[in-house]
């Protein structure tokens, strides 16, 4: 099996080498370092380490190192990366929608147009839940409640300006209420806000589906809707769109290379990441982690970031977190 796999890998490599005769580096001797702009244990760290693991296992890179540069929604890591990885063919950075929001709210000196998008990797649905004891049985009930009394509809979720906050604002807006009025209580991550949900201190909550999966399945929390555009296999809650609420939001993560990257070097990294993401090992890993495949190549990812940036900026402006 291993023999077969390495045989396949070298076949790919030969093909890649044939297509890219001018490339300055070959995938087989790629020595990459990936910056995870967050502390150990979070989503970005976990994405970086997963990529490290599968890239090396599938032979798409000779060695991969992961470095944690935590801070300020990833903007500290981004700043360090923009300064240190200019034109570098062997450094990458993990990022996602939270970084888009953090760049805007922190007025960070650099943004994602300063780096070279390589690929969008995963996208996870957010889920809207209420405590089991809540009178709201459906998403329509919750929308009704928002319309009636937006101040007493208290939301719990992750940090201010993050994906959870943005979804709460979008849902409020879809209910026909000024999103600036949303009463959103920010917690550090899905853990603490979960306690507030289970304690019945808040009306509704937003989090990544995976984080609250256990409580949803045990019936401690009632999932009203997911923010993914399409239904997901194994998740009973239906998309907001399918319930007549025109809101979608995906918690995506992607990988970037440094500024001013030579085309040939970019092509090498792109191919290496693409081969990794297409491998059965990656498919198996994201299934185990409960992530959804949301792969998009560099060109598509670049225009996607531009549209997400505009959209996130609009929402943050409407809730008073950006100018």
């Amino acid at each position: 099996m291993t023999y077969l796999r390495s045989g396949l890998a070298s076949a790919w490599l030969m093909a890649a080498a044939a297509i890219l005769p001018l490339s300055s580096a070959h995938a087989e001797d790629l020595e990459i370092s990936i910056i995870a702009p967050a502390g150990a244990g979070g989503g970005w760290d976990s994405a970086a380490r997963s990529l490290q693991d599968v890239m090396m296992k599938t032979g798409n890179a000779h060695s991969v190192q992961v470095m944690n540069v935590p801070g300020a929604g990833g903007t500290v890591g981004l700043a360090q990366f923009v300064q240190g990885a200019k034109g570098s063919p062997d450094q990458m950075l993990v990022g996602g929608i939270t970084m888009v929001g953090a760049i805007i709210t922190n007025k960070a000196p650099y943004n994602l147009s300063n780096v070279t998008p390589i690929a969008r990797l995963t996208g996870d649905p957010l889920v809207v839940v209420v405590p089991a004891s809540s009178p709201y049985k459906t998403m329509a009930d919750l929308m009704e409640g928002i319309k009636k009394d937006v101040a007493h509809t208290i939301w719990a979720g992750g940090s201010a300006g993050g994906a959870d906050h943005i979804l709460a604002a979008l849902v409020t807006q879809a209910a026909g209420v000024d999103p600036a009025k949303v009463n959103y209580v920010a917690y550090s991550g899905g853990g603490e806000s979960l306690a507030a949900m289970l304690g019945g201190q808040v009306t509704a909550g937003v989090s990544g589906y995976g984080e609250w999966q256990g409580q949803i399945e045990s019936g401690d929390l009632r999932a009203l809707a997911i923010s993914y555009p399409e239904p997901i296999e194994g998740i009973a809650a239906q998309p907001l769109k399918a319930q007549g609420i025109d809101v979608e939001l995906v918690n995506w993560r992607g990988i970037f290379a440094g500024p001013e990257l030579a085309d040939a070097d970019k092509a090498v990294l792109e191919t290496a990441v693409q081969k990794t993401v297409e491998s059965p090992e990656w498919k198996e890993l994201i299934k185990a982690k409960g992530w959804s495949d949301y792969y998009a190549p560099s060109a598509e990812f670049t225009s996607f970031i531009a549209s997400e940036d505009a959209r996130v900026h609009g929402v943050l402006k409407s809730i008073g977190l950006a100018e």
Partner: protein
Amino acid sequence: MDSLIHLMHGFGTALDPMNLAFAAIGVLLGTAVGVLPGIGPALTVALLLPITFKLDPGGSLIMFAGIYYGGMYGGSTTAILLNTPGESASVVTALEGNQMARRGRGGPALATAAIGSFVAALIATAGLAFFAPILVKVAVKFGPWDYFGLMLIAFVTVSATFGSSPLRGLTSLGIGLWLGLIGIDQLSGQTRLSFGVPNLLDGIEVTTLAVGLFALGEALFVASRHLFNDEKPMAIKGSIWMSREDWKRSWKPWLRGTLVGFPIGALPAGGAEIPTFLSYTMERKLSTKPEEFGQGAIEGVAGPEAANNASAAGTLVPLLTLGLPTSATAAVMLAGFQQYNLQPGPLLFVQHPALVWGLVASLFIANVMLLVLNLPLVGLWVRLLKIPLPWLYAGILVFACMGTIAANPSVVELMMLVGFGFLGFLMRRYDYPIAPVVVGLILGPLADSQLRRALQMSLGDPMILLQHPGSASMIAIATLALIAPFLFKGLARFRQDED
């Protein structure tokens, strides 16, 4: 009774030779990273995650738990010997522990820390096994108003306990609270007092502050006095083991520390810092020799160390029953569970009983291993103190700087460390207590967030703090603790006047 049968099965799993080996590797690694500066248990587990992916889930989770417990033991060693707390939970241990070490009683200090940790972890792990489902129901009812009340108690008791007067304690606390304001505000996402320095956006690192104030400040202070009088190396006085009196003075603090540490650790936003500070305050109040506090009182090591380890077991309660990580290490362990497609939460005990109870049982075993590993090491560690003072302090300076750089490789961090070192020196010189600064930095932002969350939920009505019985009684206790000493003083003066 059901739990007992499950636990027996769990011991069956944990005593499997492979799992025993994993537990042994875990405690060894954990102790090592606890002693080394800059590398904490969270980072170690994160580094091991990809390696253990192919291993059996039970075995690697048992190893992670061993690392967690081991890190808690190891962290106290540097706090006692070098006055360099590696993590915020061992800040309190450094207070009395290092004083004991400097008076030649490093051995008993290390021993009471190790045995106290063992006793606390043993009791708390039993608590985890039997009370987790009940405890978690109470813990989630703890609202932001209750947390705010708890933190008020911590503020008042800490500033009243440390230092020669409450005013000096409150001044120090104020400095800490101010430092705690720096960085991005969690609730609004806005930046406060960062002065355009990106490294300040996430606030000031607790370990940088603690190491700067304690280790650097101490080294500068000693150096400044060294000019005037020649100090001899710290001699080891008496036995390196605990005397009969040490045992007598330690066993009650161990139990009290456990009682404080476990329930607060089990709270979703409890942490290890509040219980260690509360335990220290409590021991100081209850001690028969309160005058020894600040000069190396063994109770001040025994209680907080027990509280620290009990809270480590406590954090496993929300992790296993809710899937709720309340410390960095617990967050990485959660990622470990998820990599095996196991979702910690209410269903984990039902769906994977063998794994959960195996884990609980191996915590007991890891604990015994840690005691066996640590007690013989005491003799080795205390020899460090025979090094002549200038050498020892030079070593501490190198150790402190290396640790800070390893955890946070930036020039700004190093400059902050030096700045806090000078602050620590000045505070020592002018007799202001240091611990309240650290408490302010740790708890200030938490109290700030919890108070504003409570007000956000009540739409701005402050009465919410008094409407909930839990928060109302805690605020009453805090107010009493603040006013009572002044009242008693006034009363005493009044009586004197009558005479």
